[in-house]
Amino acid sequence: MNQEGFLTKTVAGFTSALESVILNEELAHTRGLIQSLDPRVKLFTFVLLVVIVGLARSFWILAVLTILAAALVYLSRISPGFFIKRALIFLPFTAIVALPALFITLGEPCWQINGRVIITLQGAQTAGFLLLRVMDSLSCGMLIILTTPWNSLLSALRWFRLPAVIIDILGMTYRYIFLLLHTTNSMFLARRSRSSGEFSGSENRRWLAHTLASTLAKSQHLSEEVYLAMLARGYQGEIYTINRLQLQNRDYLWTGITVLAAIVLIWSIYR
């Protein structure tokens, strides 16, 4: 195996994280259906949709929700290819998890070879349920993630009474993730530019641990400096932000439709 494989993989992870952040911001500012909704409305209705996906007990409901998600992707002007790549990146893992259920679940035969039952109806149903449900939940989650700028999401969370201290931490963490990613990325680059030949696995592990440890020490040092900088700007334990959230007619309409659909679906489940 390529000795630098782990480095390439890590750097690729960093790059894709940065890339997705830039793309998210772009997408969140295009004019589409979900983008035009208030972030509080989006947070409430999409969490509600994920709960409904969780409660659904028939393939029909899950299939309808899949079509709904696809329609919303189209109406929000998200490129389908990009959405599938982004939202369903975690789906193959679920497919691997669901696969054995096809073969080990006992029940009526569905597919046989030479009279031996390979796949049962129940097995196919079990695997199908899990896959569809995970796909629908991922789509709903990703729809709100892709169409909402991070700051709006935070003000929506604040409106839902998440403590201010948590919001402040979330906001600052998000900002410093990119600084730390940048720092460690530079450390990787520095190592590559001044080394040649192959490193053993244990050398690589030691070097990684040192990189992480000095990043940890840097974070600690930086937190002190950031705190002093905040104090110097008059920080007294609270951060004030401009909050310009206002509900429009379409927000009420969208909430109404979603809640009504939720009630109908839940009624049909527990009838």
């Binding site: 992870g13 679920t94 259920a101 679940t105 129940q122 989650g141 931490i169 979330l170 990684l208 641990a209």
Partner: protein, 341 residues
């Protein structure tokens, strides 16, 4: 170990939010007491660090790579309560911004990785390191073993969460609605995966970072942080009591836990003979509460009573060993042991 939405029923997710909530509330209060106005910048930077650490690919012997969580490390540097918040924030950003881990499973993911992991890891680190010097080898071993146990414990709790799904939630025809594997598949699978890959990754990363900190930033390792009495600790005991009350859920599982068959059950598994060793050893220890039950008592009550007795016994053993460790340490003045490697 990030459980996505769809694996757990909404009811389970609700219970897991409720289980995590007291820890979050206590953590916010405790951390603000200790850090006061520093809370926001300190936690923000350390959460960002944990997020970055989770993105690192760690090469393992044999050519594979894996990711670490770093929860025990954070608990060692900042204390377990700050670790609860730090990891929760990192997981929150992963879920809310990158779609890694679900929205309604967030409570469960936090309970596993931000509560169980740092507390188990920190507790074992404390047990092993006791009052030794910040730079001692003993502390390094404590950090590595603690982080290993922390992640394995978190994985086991996650396995229980999705292992109870098929028994509790089925369609009318018996088809499992969520994660389809029962406890006797989920627990061994998660245990093997985490004991052989994720656990070693966590131990290597935590141990490596810890060793480096010992050499260069030993001030970050608080060797003699005084253990404060916690006023609201009853909340946690309350949580434990709730879990003990929930033990009868185990009765739902049909059959015996994997690998825990009795001699008579081995026959039922299709084994034609009983291995001699098992036959010989069966019954040599007359258990006071066979099958977690009491004579002349319902199975449910028996299970709950057994859980409480188990908790008290384990608590007593831990308390005894803690006393023994701290006595041994105060009796023997440890000289500084170099750990340069």
């Amino acid at each position: 170990m990030h459980i996505p939405d769809g694996y757990l029923s909404p009811a389970t997710c609700g219970v897991m939010y409720a289980a995590s909530a007291p820890f979050w509330i206590l953590a916010v209060n405790r951390v603000r007491q200790v850090l006061t106005h520093r809370t926001v910048p300190v936690l923000a930077l350390f959460s960002a660090f944990i997020f970055v650490l989770m993105m690192f690919n760690i090469p393992l012997p044999g050519g594979t790579t894996g990711h670490a969580v770093g929860g025990t490390l954070l608990a060692i540097v900042l204390g377990p309560w700050a670790a609860v918040l730090g990891i929760s924030v990192a997981l929150g950003i992963q879920a809310l911004f990158f779609g890694d881990g679900g929205l309604i499973t967030f409570g469960a993911n936090c309970f596993n990785m931000a509560v169980v992991l740092p507390f188990v890891g920190y507790f074992i680190y404390k047990m092993i390191s006791a009052n030794s010097e910040a730079t001692s080898l003993r502390r390094l071993v404590g950090a590595a073993v603690g982080s290993y146990c922390g992640i394995v414990a978190a994985a086991l709790i996650a396995a229980i969460e999705f292992g109870i799904q098929p028994a509790l939630f089925q369609a009318i025809d018996g088809t499992p609605l969520y994660a389809p594997y029962s406890l006797n598949v989920a627990i061994p699978t998660m245990a093997i995966g985490h004991m052989s890959i994720a656990g070693p990754v966590e131990a290597i990363v935590t141990g490596g970072i810890f060793a480096y900190l010992q050499r260069t930033h030993s001030s970050l390792i608080k060797a003699d942080a005084p253990v404060k009495k916690e006023g609201k600790i009853w909340l946690l005991w309350g949580g434990l009591a709730v879990l003990a009350l929930a033990t009868p859920i185990g009765l739902l599982a049909s059959g015996t836990a994997w690998g825990e068959w009795g001699a008579d059950e081995l026959k039922g598994l299709g084994l034609d003979f009983i291995p001699q060793g098992i036959e010989k050893l069966t019954g040599w220890w007359p258990a006071p509460l066979p099958d977690y039950g009491f004579p002349r008592m319902g199975a449910v009550i028996g299970y709950i009573l057994s859980a409480f007795i188990g908790i008290i016994l384990i608590g007593f053993i831990i308390w005894l060993s803690g006393r023994w460790l701290s006595r041994r340490n105060s009796a023997r003045q440890e000289t500084k042991t170099g750990t340069m490697n």
